[in-house]
Assembly symmetry: C2
Homo-oligomer: 130 residues x 2
């Protein structure tokens, strides 16, 4: 899809070799999640058009949707002014959150307390059944 | 505006005591910037309704717009499923980026190379004059 060399040269990775990547649904503008990419994840995302992160817990490339089927197809790859944050505009299949919600940002801090603002659309059991 | 205790209890700060915070224009959905908050920045943001970050370079609270006048009024404060990322929906005065662009995410990695996709609306000289 895109040659990654120019993008990699423009990105400042942190001491762990990672950069935060925000995923936004390209047409609705909904912010879906934030995760991390290393150089290989950036290169793979640009090469394949399927968003790939680095899993800090599993210490490996995390091809979003490889277990749940909820993939993210890349629409635009944006680098911020400091080169230290990525914004990927994506077309999200199904739900982005492992809880079965469309977005990971479903807990609002409001005067009345913490409030859930996004419904569960798919049960996690359904999502991760094989 | 909002009592911060519940929010602070739900947030996992990293080893440096910080959490990444994404700012999104509440009505258009535009992702404006990503910065960091510590506990005091979270508490101040919720108490005042003006978004406050932690400046890693200045090592101090960064009341967005204190120099440029381009403040962010808080509309919604969201915590993600893991408690380790914040999404603030804001009403941004003017431009979010120190380069005078509406958003910090103005560089797209495209097949033809890095491409600027957002115009300069205010010159940085104008923004930081006086």
């Amino acid at each position: 899809m895109t040659d990654a060399a120019a993008a990699l040269a423009a990105i400042t990775f942190n001491a762990d070799g990672l950069v935060p990547a925000i995923a936004q649904q390209f047409d609705t503008g909904e912010v879906l999640m934030m995760a991390w990419m290393n150089r290989d994840a950036v290169a793979e995302t640009l090469a394949t058009g399927r968003v790939c992160y680095w899993s800090r817990s599993r210490k490996g490339l995390w091809r979003k949707g490889e277990t749940s089927g909820q993939q993210q197809r890349l629409k635009e790859f944006l680098i911020d002014c400091d080169g230290d944050t990525i914004l990927v505009k994506v077309d999200q299949d199904g739900v982005a959150c492992h809880t079965g919600r469309r977005t990971c940002f479903y807990t609002a801090a409001r005067p009345e307390g913490l409030t859930e603002v996004a419904p569960v659309l798919v049960s996690p059991e359904e999502l991760y059944k094989k």
